[in-house]
């Protein structure tokens, strides 16, 4: 049986008096790319933030890499922060630092590296993420949307994490940039061997890179299954999602790619 790296049981979260999740269960297996889909406002970002310990759930338990996530347990959280990398919805790069310095932040925070080595490794991550070395000198406001996403990915990869959380990494990218990002993600996860928790609305991304997809609806995870199974799922929202005009187009182009 494959190892489980994230396991969420009976999760209930409430924000601003509104119940966002109820009885939510989720398992993420080691090494897989798990896609998270769901309508806008169904709590995908909230789920990610809860797993990351940024939001305290009302009920339920979350285990990551065999350790219980508890925002109050600083020691465990510090160990966990060392093991995961996060790309937030808008990049969340520190606006006053250059891209290089942004990538160095987690290294400086968690490791005791000489500064020359830290900046060399940061440059390596920047280039792995598909940016040019010169871009490392720029500050985030000088980058385009796609470059900012790549810079944020470089920062997420800074510590060679076991799990990478990505919140809509291709939203707002042009189709070419998005496709490049998909390819990059797939290559990196294959070569670096990390697990990916990928929130996305991008059907092409789902077809291209995910191993399984978890569908969030009615405050819980309805199903977790490979895309081929989801296409046959009877739930109306899932059916509409994969068989609407966009779903079909993505399906067809994925089939085309697979055949060629």
């Amino acid at each position: 049986m494959t190892e489980t790296v994230i396991s969420v049981r009976g999760l209930r979260t409430k924000l601003g008096g509104k119940e966002i999740h109820k009885d939510l269960d989720l398992d993420v297996r080691k090494g897989e790319i798990l896609g998270i889909v769901g309508g806008s406002g169904t709590g995908k970002s909230v789920l990610m933030r809860t797993i990351l310990g940024l939001i305290k759930p009302r009920e339920g338990s979350i285990e990551v890499l065999g350790r219980k996530v508890d925002p109050l347990d600083r020691k465990t959280m510090l160990e966990l922060e060392r093991c995961w990398g996060v790309l937030f919805q808008d990049g969340a790069l520190f606006s006053s630092l250059t891209v290089c310095e942004n990538v160095e932040v987690p290294m400086r925070e968690h490791l005791d590296l000489p500064s020359a080595l830290a900046s060399d490794l940061a440059l390596l991550k920047i280039k792995l993420a598909g940016l040019k070395a010169e871009d490392g000198r720029k500050i985030p406001s000088e980058l385009s949307g796609g470059m900012r996403k790549r810079a944020a990915l470089a920062r997420a990869l800074a510590l060679d994490p076991d799990i990478v959380f990505l919140d809509e990494p291709t939203a707002g990218l042009d189709p070419v940039g998005a496709a490049q990002f998909d390819e990059l993600l797939q290559n990196l996860s294959k070569n670096l061997g990390f697990t990916v928790f990928l929130i996305t609305h991008d059907l092409d991304t789902l077809y291209a890179v995910t191993d399984r997809i978890a569908v969030l609806a009615d405050k819980k995870v309805l199903v977790t299954a490979p895309i081929a199974e989801l296409e046959r799922h009877p739930h109306p929202w899932i059916h509409e999602y994969f068989h609407g005009p966009r779903g079909r187009a993505a399906h067809d182009s994925a089939m085309l790619v697979a055949r060629s």
Binding site: S95, S96, M107, L111, D112, L113, P114, L117, D120, L121, L123, L124, K125, K127, L128, K132, A133, E134, G136, R137, I139, P140, S141, L157, L159, D160, N187, L188, K190, N191, L192, G193
Partner: protein
Amino acid sequence: MTAKAQVSVSEEGETARVRLAGPWTVAAAADLDGQLKKLRLKSKRATLDLSGIDAIDTAGAWLIRQAAKTLVEGGVSVAFAGADRQASALLETVGAVDQDSNPPRKEPPSFEEMLARLGFHTAFAIREARNFLGFFGLTIETFAATALRPVRFRFTSFVFHLEAVGLNALPIVGLISFLIGVVMAYQGASQLRFFGAEIFVVDLVAISVLREIGILLTAIVVAGRSGSAFTAQIGTMKLREEVDAMRTLGLDPVEVLVLPRIAALVVALPILCFFSDILGLLGGMLMAWVNLDISPQAFITRVQDRIPIRHFWVGMTKAPVFAAMIGLVGCYQGLRVKGDAGSVGRLTTRSVVQSIFLVIVADAIFSIFFNLINI
């Protein structure tokens, strides 16, 4: 994974065998970097034996690549041995992103660069002054256009800002003015007592509050609380492209955002100034009563008999001018925001500093002017 990562060398004849063992991960990177830097080989051929590595990540792979490159540059031919699947994949991934194109590190600035920076800032200041003047003209023009077609004036917005900059500022302006009145009367009394001229405390407080202190205090408080708010509000809208959206919808940002704010300030500041005058006089009166036994009755009579009303008008004349300056600077800096949220903070600070500076310069010019015409 508890074993320590290490580098060990055994040289036999022509070929050196460099054994890398333990966890080659970013956690051990600092240590490994040091070990590799000390690596010296006598042989001309080296084999890097990776079979002892039990964990590897990109940092480790990069260090190995880097070590190999240093050896090759030293004229040693390098071969790899014993790399498992993951290690070779990583070495390949890391090798694929070309390492040679690293830009040189930043040097400390040279004299020429400093000179260039000085020139840049000078040119920037001149450009800034010109742009501000341009903005001033644009506002006047929009004001004139709106005056001709008053229906275009944003009355609701005007009233909203009137409340924000005027009504809501009353407590703080009043309190500060009152306290300054108290302090001036107290300090004045302790000096004038030497001459037995305590009664002149009334003149001192009344003239300085009416002419200078009332309006200056009010203007500075308003610059700090409303000028900065203007910059932050408009700046945030600018960041979120709301200002651009406005333009595409055929709305003029100067008409919609700038005019109501400046108009509200121009109306509010004289009222606040009047309020400040009254509270300042009250503070002085209270102190004169407590400290010098000058009854409020006597204080008021003396103010009425001895202090010409023109002092009051001098203060009030400055109010709308200062208001326009604070409003203009606040809105202008707000519209200059671009890029990131940090720029809102920077420009808000600049807006406050500039408007206070301008207010004080203008006050000095007013002083000279009123002096010349003997008011």
